[in-house]
Amino acid sequence: MKAWLRFLPSIINKAIISDAIKIYEIDFNILRAYITPRGGKMLVEINGPQENESIQYMEEQGIQVTPIMRVVTKDLEKCMDCGACVSVCPVNAICIKEDWMVEIDNQNCIGCGFCINSCPTKSIDFME
């Protein structure tokens, strides 16, 4: 699953995540990270049989975990299905369907934001 992790500066020095990885044997993949002196947030992908337990652990240790279904959203009113975003996606998460609609597969999306910056109608944005 994908999730946003938010943490305060007070816990930045703790090895919570590496502990979670070791204890619960999860695959942990960082897709985006914003770290500032006021804390930080990371978009991550967590996979493994004990992923729920690992999340519970992280929350106990002070990390705020917000699981997300979608990394980016596309405004269907604004999108004109031009396809300009399709070829800039590094993981082929955007495709043109049978009926020529342009669709983003959030399962594969790694949140790089390239599509957001290449859309002529600014139809795509990060989910907050």
Binding site: M80, D81, C82, G83, S87, I96, P120
Partner: protein, 518 residues
């Protein structure tokens, strides 16, 4: 053989047979062109793509006291008003005057807002005359309150177009969309087999005065468009590059926002997405054959947009079947493709037009005059000031440093010569990197003694045979103050700085005062 009058009679009676251009392709392949030409009366085409050469004539009406507008702004986008007193032409690609908005909002967005019925702020300035005393107007307008709003597009519906890729190591933002480095993607803009002028490639039925579908209402072909060209190489009867174009007009007050859209090509600028469709009367077997063209038969060339010159190199050829599959092969490597025009909406245009004709709401027209089908070429603009090349610049004695040099010596060189950056070369004089005074300070602070550890290896360079204007753009884009000139063997020949260029082309470079070092 049929005539347009006969077809119109059928349309009025409600028994005309109308199909879209993609349906026609399979009908002809099943039944043959002869049978299809007898059975089918009209083929509808459609496209929905970025058409930069678009705009609108607006007449605002007279205020009291009256004004002779000499400068007009709509939501902060300037329209040309050097015609009469209250007329203006709003160009689709004109960006907002407001530097904070810049390219994100332009003429095309104003056009969409007006069509959506939104209020738009009009500001007009004037010098004041005896008959038009007012010098300033500031008022909201809406489409239904102004007298006329005529969309008038000097160049739409290109007959085929180049396909774009980018061989350089940096991402380019162009009117062909975002082009990833090292030919990482390919973009194309034509709707292929559904596109109007590819279905009547010799302009047998499409001409001056032809009634068409334009942005959800009826529009008309004014004439051939600007840059109309007929002498392009043809394959299967279809030009392999950009050829014929159309000048179009239509009443904005009747347009439908589903078929027109203001957009911005990222870091390039505003453009208008126009939905246009042309009905083609199937008068004979030859016309039927032409409308049966398939994506596979439409050949086009992949052009390297990494070379910012008038004639860009052709990389290879492809066709629309391959392009629409989502990936093509360039030099044995699979590359993803992006259409820039919406095929989904192009089909909606063709379907909508088909419905109008089937319902008897839209009759076909005989052209008043044919479009030129031969003898048109696009001439370049020959400037009387030929491009100045980098090699034409008088090079000062070159100051360089060697990759084995000590940090101390490099620091001295920078200070003695009062410069901020030095190219680093090897024994053959070939460029290895660049070092700035900041790099040296960094080296001292971190106690590094080797030049190779602190220099920047990825250097933005100028080649001797490049035009100085291209270097000016590069300096602007990377926000640097100067770059080394290298020859074909990558040997350093000198430095070119923002100051050199300002002196030469009198340009106003953003970072005349130095900017960031390289």
């Amino acid at each position: 053989m049929k005539t347009i009058e006969e077809i119109n009679q059928k349309i009025t009676n409600g028994d005309a047979v109308v199909v879209t251009a993609d349906e026609m392709t399979s009908i002809v392949s099943q039944k043959g062109a002869k049978k299809a030409s007898e059975e089918i009366d009209v083929v509808t085409t459609g496209t929905f793509g970025a058409m930069c050469s678009s705009g609108a004539f607006l007449n605002f009406g007279h205020s009291d006291p009256p004004i002779k507008m000499s400068k007009t702004f709509l939501n902060g986008v300037e329209a040309y008003s050097g015609l009469a007193a209250v007329d203006a032409y709003l160009g689709a690609t004109q960006p907002s005057q407001n530097p904070e908005i810049g390219l994100d909002y332009g003429g095309s967005h104003v056009i969409e807002d007006l069509i959506r019925g939104k209020e738009v702020e009009l500001i007009a300035e004037a010098y004041g005359t005896d008959c038009y005393p007012l010098k300033m107007v500031e008022t909201p307008i809406t489409l239904d309150k102004i007298n006329q709003a005529t969309m008038f597009n000097p160049r739409n519906c290109y007959q085929n177009y180049a396909v774009a890729t980018n061989s350089t190591p940096e991402t380019l933002y162009t009117y062909m969309g975002t082009l990833l480095p090292n030919s990482g993607n390919v973009t194309y803009s034509s709707a292929g087999a559904l596109s109007p002028l590819l279905n009547d490639p010799y302009f047998q039925t499409i001409g001056v005065g032809t009634r068409i579908f334009l942005c959800g209402t009826e529009g008309y072909i004014v004439s051939e468009g600007t840059q109309h060209s007929t002498e392009v190489e043809r394959r299967n009867g279809i030009p392999v590059g950009s050829a014929g174009t159309l000048m179009l007009q239509g009443d904005m007050k009747k347009m439908d926002p589903d078929f027109v859209r203001g957009a911005t090509m990222p870091k390039y600028g505003p453009t208008l997405y126009v939905g246009a469709g042309i009905p083609i009367p199937i008068l004979n077997e030859d016309i039927a054959t032409r409308t049966a063209i398939s994506d596979e038969q439409i050949i086009c060339k992949i052009i390297d947009y990494g070379i910012p010159r008038r004639s860009r190199p052709v990389i290879t050829e492809t066709n629309y079947k391959e392009l629409k599959s989502g990936k093509i092969e360039i030099n044995g490597i699979e590359v993803p493709t992006s259409p820039l025009s919406s095929y989904k909406r192009a089909k909606m245009v063709a379907e909508e037009l088909k419905e109008w004709i089937e319902n008897g709401e839209f009759l076909l027209t005989n052209p008043v005059k044919s479009l030129p089908s031969r003898g048109c070429t696009v001439n370049p603009l020959e400037t009387n000031k030929p491009a100045v090349l980098v090699r034409d610049i008088e090079s000062k004695s070159i100051i360089m440093t060697h990759s084995d040099d000590k940090i101390n010596d490099v620091a001295r060189k920078l200070v003695d010569n009062n410069i901020n950056h030095l190219p680093v070369v090897d024994n053959n004089g070939q460029l290895k990197g660049i070092v700035t005074s900041w790099d040296i300070a960094d080296a001292v602070a971190r106690d590094k003694s080797k030049l190779v550890d602190v220099m920047t290896r990825k250097v933005i360079i100028a080649r001797e045979d490049e035009s100085v204007d291209i270097i000016a753009r590069r300096i602007d884009k990377h926000n640097i103050s100067g770059l080394p000139i290298v020859d074909k063997e990558n040997r350093v020949k000198g430095m070119i700085t923002a100051e050199d260029i300002s002196r030469l082309i009198g340009g106003n470079l953003k970072n005349e005062n130095g900017g960031d070092s390289i």
